[in-house]
Symmetry: C2
Subunit: 128 residues, 2 copies
């Protein structure tokens, strides 16, 4: 299994034209923001290396790189909470992907709909 | 100006209870996903250290850490494309924030509504 430890990206079947536009962190990863198709809810953020992105694009199933386990994971493979990918967009500076999915069940491993369930207190400034 | 180069976080006035829940990268940063209030559009992703988060929460104006310029930037300070913060949520593992904003003008420095304007080709698998 390739280790995503090069800023130039690991060996992968990812389209070289796409690979050339990624701006990876020191671990070879870009952020993947996951948004629910239909509702627009932001569900979670995970990480992809070139190969995870290639697998996501070519299979239509969201596939990430686990930094803690150091392995690829297909979302839902163990939980049944599958993500069917509807679109993937790269941002202007190449360090983030927006992945739109049909989510089966809870997106968060804690069992909640989204991983962003903890609100922080914020001062509200009125828009002029 | 404090450099966000410690995984324990730079000196900041951020509430220690919040700071304790952040899981920062090697640069002392967490990802900030910016979503438009009302439309649900995901506009951009930027980075925050403890002080940027403190300023965002305490002023209600989205404030980021620029990795390239190595300085804080208040979104809209030069462009006029202000972001009035409506909510901030931390994710379950503490490495990402979801910032909901009222966006004035274009969120992207390229002049587009969002930074995620470049769709990648994806195989569509039908949900069973």
């Amino acid at each position: 299994m390739p280790a995503p430890d090069l800023e130039n990206g690991p060996t992968s079947a990812l389209d070289p034209a796409i690979a050339a536009r990624l701006r990876r962190d020191s671990g070879g990863l870009v952020a993947a923001i996951v948004q629910e198709y239909g509702t627009g809810d932001v569900l979670m953020m995970a990480w992809m290396d070139d190969e995870a992105l290639h697998r996501t694009l070519s299979t239509g199933r969201a596939t990430y790189w686990s930094r803690s386990r150091r392995e690829y994971w297909v979302k839902g493979a163990t939980s049944g909470h599958h993500q069917y990918v509807r679109s993937v967009a790269l941002d202007c500076d190449g360090d983030a992907l927006l992945v739109t999915v049909e989510q089966v069940g809870a997106a968060c491993h804690t069992g909640t709909h989204t991983c962003f369930s903890e609100d922080l207190p914020v001062h509200q400034e009125e828009r002029p």
